[in-house]
Symmetry: C2
Subunit: 438 residues, 2 copies
Amino acid sequence: MKNALPDRGAGSRHRVVILGAGFAGLRVAKLLKKAPVDVVIVDRQNHHLFQPLLYQVATAGLAAPDIAAPIRRILRGNRNARVVYGEVTGLDPASQTVRMGEDELGYDTLVVATGATHSYFGHDEWAEYAPGLKTLGDAQRIRSHVLRAFESAERLSDPKDQAPWLRFVVVGAGPTGVELAGALAELARKILPRDFRRFDGSKTEVMLIEAGPRVLAPYTEELSASAQRQLEKLGVTVRTGSSVTNIDGNGVTLEGGEEIPARTVLWAAGIRASSVLEDLHAPLDRAGRVMVEPDLTVPGRPNVFVLGDAAHLEQDGSQVPGVAPAAMQMGKHAAKTIASRLRLKQGAQPAARPFRYRDKGSMATIGRASAVADLGKVKLKGWLAWMAWLVIHLMFLVGFRSKIVVLINWVWAYIGYRPAARVLPELADDGLARTETP
Amino acid sequence: MKNALPDRGAGSRHRVVILGAGFAGLRVAKLLKKAPVDVVIVDRQNHHLFQPLLYQVATAGLAAPDIAAPIRRILRGNRNARVVYGEVTGLDPASQTVRMGEDELGYDTLVVATGATHSYFGHDEWAEYAPGLKTLGDAQRIRSHVLRAFESAERLSDPKDQAPWLRFVVVGAGPTGVELAGALAELARKILPRDFRRFDGSKTEVMLIEAGPRVLAPYTEELSASAQRQLEKLGVTVRTGSSVTNIDGNGVTLEGGEEIPARTVLWAAGIRASSVLEDLHAPLDRAGRVMVEPDLTVPGRPNVFVLGDAAHLEQDGSQVPGVAPAAMQMGKHAAKTIASRLRLKQGAQPAARPFRYRDKGSMATIGRASAVADLGKVKLKGWLAWMAWLVIHLMFLVGFRSKIVVLINWVWAYIGYRPAARVLPELADDGLARTETP
């Protein structure tokens, strides 16, 4: 065997294997720094991603490295942690091993924090036409697609031909969809048209399609209504109560048969947990998340934790949301449980301390100086909500350098309406053909 | 025809078509802002690239958008300029047209500033194993390759297996090769090894191979010697007088048969001008550059200019170098010539004012606080040369925002040995296999 995963010598320490270096997994690794364990953290990316700002990479506001930090650097000071860059292909809870291709990695405690990807509700053929936004690669592809759409419109002289290139449809009006639609509206209606000669901002259209009755369904009705008003003020056409029945190269078809011709369709409607969770043989919810015990372990497997977007947990009658603060709190809980179990005498039965999510509020940004924030008793809208959003997101950004660079990019974009990352890495190999009508 | 290039109505103005928005082409477009002409500038990228810093994107020091600015934004204020994003497929000087796929673009004056790409001296099969550095895409691919090499070494336990992954060979010791080797040495020997557990900096090797007798051949012998000493201090193995006879997946073979096993080989040895120049039916030099008249026009075609890396011009017995200042000076000269011809009465014979390159000096950076600068009478080495290099490059960077962001990234990298852009966008599709020994 040419490859070698970290070896376990005789008499080695308790090994904690963490799958995924997102908010939950990374928190576990960091908090186990002083614990008498060997930590192995596995990720298919070399970087931790600050996902709440991913939509800004997709809309050319930030460069990809601005919101990513190398996992190895984050854990450089954790001498008991090893980072493995690679893909998990299977789990075997019976033999306590993780499979990575032909290699195996044994564990004493397993933490599964593999996050979620997009789900097309059985219509995987839509993926080609309506990309979702989960990784830096997704964001860069969406950015290229959007920038190319404007270039294509500029090459056409008939407004009828231009229209599908200048219409941007976002499916799903959760936080990601709302943020994408708002940022796209600013880009499409205010920023880019000034640089083109054959169309102006009034010819571009951003449409947000939602099957449910309102945008930002998890928020109060008042904040939902405010978010919709703020979106419309930016020029977004909001279509609630509209189900999508088809997506192809020509655009979107709605229930009832209405066709919306559009060359850019972005998917923000559904997520699905990683398929590797199926190997745990535990009850899953409809989105493939593990129905975890109150202490975040898998039923019948007290040494296997499932955290973050991979876990389904009900609390006070509602589901703990798939947001970064919940993931980080879960990571902290798991790390504490693991450490306290090791402190117990061997053979003693550890107490299964239940996890409790503390909701410190949620916020969604809509555009420049435009957002909604639900901080429990305090509800904010517009400029104040946006400032709160900005401060909190900067505070949480990993790494000092990123904060300053991101702040400068924002201030600069705010003053000058200049997105910092308006870069198409390469012309398509087929040259002009890429932007032509097929 | 679905696509439409800018149309020419009846009685339209003199049209200047510029191919390439590098330092030369962009300068022509900007300086013709007030001239009574229509300018059309064509590029296969949507951005102008600050090429002197490209090696920093390749070595994870800067993010791609830091050194790129959208062409449309740069020319937003030039109301007489149109930007066409697409690839030129041919020229026809007889009919005064430029071909772009099936479309044609007519011109009255043509400015060809299409730059250069790498040349493998007839060994195009080496391209697969030894990528060159000309575009943002090249830089991002090299960055991914280098970062993956370290990940691959970390997955192996036998130092014999690790060695080829930890050896980085740069072929060609001109300014690009020297800058790449220096930056790679810092990354490979000082920055990254701290984050890995299975090897340290002493196991990594950066080798700079040059067929000629010394590095930085265009510089004085004293500065060449200093550059080599500075490189060696950083840990670079410099091999001058060594010709490469083969490059494949296992590494590099030198004249005499010596084999250097290496998984990363970068090509900085030769460039070749764009093949579209052949359509001009003008004399070309060995690198495919047009032998231009002293006024930068094509012999027998006074309305066709060739500028920058696409042009070969002798001055005082030596060739005008392929550097940014020369390209910008050529652009200025062409713009002035075009504008002054238009001011002449129709029918009058324009004076063919010869171009004169003013050499303000040249500099190459080697690493942190390490460089050489030849400013005519003043020759600088080490820290002072590096400061001069930094100030001059920041001054020339296009766009205020880039300057601040790039400065912060540099200061941050300098203080903390932390490259800002250590990001692998995606794991290869085949997961682990990508980093395995084939």
